[in-house]
C-alpha cells in the first residue's frame, strides 16, 4: 500500500509528465540550452502544482497544467488598443511569436534589447547570469513550478538591459489569433546602476498564457511597470514577476485586470539593498465567470526599505477574487516599512473574496501593517449621491472608482493612470443597468 502522500505525489508526477509530453525544448542554442535543461529538471523535482497544494488552495491549477489548452473564444475588443496614445517603443508578439512587422526597431537611447529566441547564440553575460536565476531564487520558501516550466520552455521574450534614463516606455503587446493557442514568454530586464525605464504590457497572447518577467534593479535604478491583462473572457493566464532590488532602487508594478476566466499573478520581490522601495499594486474587475488570484511575496533583506502592496478587486455575478500576500522581514532588516492592503468590493452576494495576508518578521525595529476587507457598496454614500440626483448605476460606478482609487494612486505617471482610469470607467459603464 502506498501512503496517501506518496500516492498524491505520484499523481502529480503523472500530470507533470503528461504536460511535459506536449512540449519540446526550444532550440535556442548556446548558453540557454543548459539553463533550460536545469529548469526542466527543477520542474520534475517539484512537479507541477496539484489541486491539493497549499499555495493553490483557492485557485485550481488543472486548466493551467493540462496537456490540452482549453479553447477560448476570440474577443472582439470595441476599445482602441491599450496605450495607443502613448509615445513608446512597441514590441509585438503575435500568437506567442515575435512580430517584426508590427514592432518598432529596437533603437532607444539608454537601453539594448535582444530577443530571447536569438540570444542563445550571442554571448550576453548579463542575461546568462540572470535568466532563470531570479526565478530559481523565487522557488524558496514557496515553490512556483509553473515559472520553472516557463524558463525551460519559453519560446521567446525580450532581454532588456538599461544603462541610462530611457525617455519613453517599452511596450510589449501580446496579440492572439486562434481559439486554442498557447504562449510561453519569458522576459529579463536588468536596470543598471542609475538607470530608469518603464515597461508596459497588454494583450491576451493566447487562450493560455504563461509569462515570466525577471527584473534586476541595480543600485539607484528605477523600474516602472504598468500592464493590463486582456479582456478576453475565456482566456487563462499564469504570470510571475521576480524582482531583485539593490540599494536605493525603486520598483513599481501595477496590473489592471478586467475579465479573464482564470488569472494567477505571482509577484516575488526581494529587497536586497538598503533604502530600496518596492510597490506592487493591482485592480481586478470581474463579472461572472472570473477567477483572479494575486499572490505576492515580498522579502525584506536590507535596512530601511519600504514595500507596499495595494490590491483591490471589484467582483459581481459570482466572480471570485483571491489574495495571498506575504511580507517577510529577515533578521537584520531593521527600519523596514511594510504595508499591505487587500480589499474587495462585492457587488452582490454571489461573489467571493478569499484573502490570506501574512507577516513574518525576524527584526525588532520595523513598522509593518496589513489589512484585508471585503464589503458591499456603502448604502449611506449611495443614498447621499442619489439624493443629489445621481442615478443608482452611476452612483455605484462612482463609488466603485473611489474604491479603486488607492490602487490607481500607485501609478506614478498621470498619463498612464488617466488611460487606465478611462478603461475602468468603460468597463463599469458597459455593466450599467
Amino acid at each position: 500500500m502506498q501512503s496517501p502522500k506518496v500516492a498524491l505525489r505520484a499523481r502529480k508526477d503523472e500530470a507533470t509528465e503528461a504536460r511535459l509530453a506536449t512540449l519540446t525544448l526550444p532550440e535556442t542554442g548556446g548558453w540557454l540550452d543548459g539553463l533550460r535543461a536545469d529548469a526542466l529538471s527543477r520542474v520534475r523535482a517539484m512537479a507541477l502544482p496539484g489541486p491539493r497544494d497549499e499555495y493553490w488552495k483557492w485557485t485550481r491549477p488543472e486548466t493551467l497544467i493540462s496537456p490540452e489548452v482549453t479553447p477560448a473564444a476570440l474577443f472582439h475588443d470595441d476599445e482602441p488598443p491599450m496605450f495607443d496614445e502613448v509615445d513608446r517603443l512597441k514590441i509585438v508578439f503575435t500568437a506567442g511569436k515575435f512580430d517584426a512587422e508590427a514592432s518598432d526597431d529596437f533603437a532607444l537611447e539608454g537601453l539594448t534589447i535582444e530577443r530571447l529566441a536569438e540570444a542563445g547564440a550571442t554571448d550576453l553575460h548579463w542575461a546568462r547570469d540572470l535568466y532563470g536565476t531570479l526565478e530559481t531564487n523565487g522557488q524558496t520558501p514557496v515553490e512556483r513550478p509553473l515559472a520553472a516550466l516557463n524558463t525551460a520552455f519559453a519560446t521567446d521574450g525580450v532581454l532588456i538591459r538599461v544603462t541610462g534614463k530611457v525617455s519613453k516606455p517599452v511596450s510589449l503587446i501580446y496579440r492572439r489569433e486562434s481559439e486554442a493557442s498557447e504562449a510561453i514568454l519569458h522576459h529579463v530586464v536588468k536596470v543598471e546602476q542609475g538607470g530608469e525605464m518603464t515597461l508596459l504590457e497588454n494583450g491576451p497572447a493566447a487562450a493560455r498564457f504563461n509569462k515570466v518577467l525577471e527584473v534586476e534593479v541595480a543600485d539607484e535604478a528605477t523600474f516602472h511597470h504598468v500592464r493590463t491583462q486582456a479582456r478576453d473572457h475565456e482566456r487563462r493566464a499564469v504570470t510571475h514577476i521576480f524582482a531583485r532590488l539593490g540599494r536605493e532602487s525603486v520598483f513599481k508594478s501595477f496590473t489592471v485586470t478586467m475579465n479573464g476566466v482564470l488569472t494567477r499573478n505571482d509577484c516575488v520581490i526581494e529587497l536586497t539593498g538598503d533604502d530600496a522601495v518596492a510597490h506592487v499594486a493591482g485592480a481586478a474587475l470581474g463579472d461572472g465567470d472570473f477567477h483572479h488570484d494575486d499572490t505576492v511575496f515580498v522579502t525584506h533583506d536590507a535596512v530601511n526599505c519600504e514595500s507596499r502592496q495595494v490590491f483591490k478587486k471589484v467582483l459581481r455575478n459570482g466572480a471570485v477574487g483571491v489574495f495571498q500576500g506575504k511580507i517577510l522581514v529577515k533578521e537584520g532588516a531593521q527600519k523596514t516599512d511594510g504595508y499591505q492592503i487587500s480589499q474587495s468590493l462585492l457587488l452582490d452576494d454571489d461573489s467571493q473574496f478569499l484573502a490570506k495576508p501574512e507577516l513574518e518578521i525576524y527584526a525588532d525595529d520595523v513598522a509593518c501593517s496589513h489589512g484585508s476587507t471585503s464589503g458591499a457598496i456603502d448604502e449611506t454614500a449611495l443614498f447621499y449621491l442619489r439624493s443629489r440626483g445621481v442615478p443608482t448605476d452611476q452612483a455605484t460606478n462612482l463609488l466603485t472608482l473611489a474604491f479603486l482609487a488607492e490602487a490607481l494612486d500607485e501609478i506614478d505617471s498621470e498619463e498612464l493612470s488617466g488611460l487606465i482610469l478611462a478603461r475602468l470607467e468603460g468597463w463599469l459603464e458597459r455593466r450599467r443597468g
Binding site: 442619489r386 443629489r388 440626483g389 445621481v390 488607492e406
Partner: protein, 251 residues
C-alpha cells in the same frame, strides 16, 4: 410647492411608528421652520421626503408641485427639484468634491432634458458660489466631506444647494455645529436663494438661525405630528419656555 397630507411612516425593519399623521404645506416663496424635541421625527420626515430606504409609508401622501414624491426614486425627486441638506453630511472617500458636484448637476440636467454644463461654465459657477460661502479651492479638491470640520460640512451642503438650485430646500439642522460667523455665511447663502419660486423647510432647534433666516411660518413637531403652527413668535416662545407648555396644551 410641497404638500404633505396625513403622512404616517413606520420603520421597515421593526414595528415602530415614527410619523403619525403629518400635515404640512410649504408654499412657493415661503420659509417654514420646524422645531421640536429630539426624537420627534423631524429628520425622519426629511429622509422620507427625499426617499431614503428603511421607512414604510403606511398612510398619507406627499407631493412636490402636485407630483407624487413618495413613489419616485431619490434621484428623480432631486431632479424634480427637491434638496435635503443633511443633518449629518456623508463622507465619500475617493470621490472629489468637484466631480461629485458636476456629476450631480449634469445628472439632474440630463433627467430634465437639458444639456450638460460645460467644464468652464461649471468651474465658474462653483468658484463664484464657493467664494460667497468662504469655501476655498483646496476644500473643493478634497474628497466629499472627508476631513471636513462639522461646520465645513454644513457649508458644503449649502454650496451644493446653491449650485443645484433646487425648488424645494429642506435644511435639517444646518445650523448645528456652526460658529457665529459660519451661521451668518450659511444664512446669507440661504437668503440669497430665497425667491418667489422656491420653498424652504428649515429644521432647527434654535431661534438664532431664525434671526438670520426669517421664517414665514413656524411649526412645532412632537411625537410624529405637527402639534402647533404659528408665526415667527412661536420660535421665540420655544426659545424662552421650552416645549413643556406647548406639549401640555396639546395633551
Amino acid at each position: 410647492m410641497l404638500e404633505i397630507k396625513n403622512l404616517h411612516v413606520k420603520l421597515e425593519e421593526e414595528d415602530k411608528q415614527i410619523l403619525k399623521g403629518v400635515n404640512l404645506t410649504v408654499e412657493a416663496g415661503k420659509v417654514h421652520a420646524i422645531m421640536g424635541p429630539n426624537g420627534s421625527g423631524k429628520s425622519t420626515l426629511s429622509y422620507v421626503l427625499s426617499g431614503r430606504d428603511g421607512y414604510e409609508v403606511t398612510e398619507g401622501s406627499a407631493t412636490l408641485e402636485g407630483e407624487d414624491l413618495l413613489e419616485a426614486e431619490p434621484e428623480e425627486r432631486a431632479a424634480a427639484g427637491l434638496f435635503l441638506a443633511f443633518q449629518y453630511p456623508v463622507e465619500i472617500p475617493g470621490v472629489g468634491n468637484m466631480t461629485f458636484l458636476r456629476t450631480a448637476l449634469n445628472a439632474q440636467r440630463k433627467a430634465r432634458g437639458e444639456d450638460e454644463i460645460s467644464a468652464t461654465d461649471f468651474l465658474k459657477l462653483v468658484r463664484e458660489k464657493a467664494k460667497t460661502l468662504k469655501i476655498d479651492a483646496e476644500m473643493l479638491k478634497r474628497p466629499v466631506n472627508v476631513g471636513f470640520s462639522g461646520g465645513e460640512k454644513k457649508r458644503n451642503e449649502i454650496l451644493q444647494m446653491a449650485v443645484l438650485e433646487p425648488k424645494m430646500c429642506i435644511l435639517d439642522e444646518t445650523d448645528s455645529g456652526l460658529d457665529v460667523d459660519a451661521m451668518k455665511l450659511v444664512s446669507d447663502g440661504v437668503n440669497a436663494l430665497r425667491d418667489e419660486g422656491r420653498g424652504f423647510l428649515v429644521i432647527t432647534h434654535y431661534q438664532r438661525l431664525l434671526d438670520h433666516i426669517k421664517p414665514d411660518v413656524v411649526h412645532i413637531m412632537a411625537n410624529g405630528r405637527i402639534i402647533k403652527t404659528g408665526g415667527p413668535e412661536l420660535a421665540l416662545e420655544v426659545e424662552k419656555n421650552g416645549y413643556a407648555d406647548i406639549l401640555a396644551e396639546e395633551a
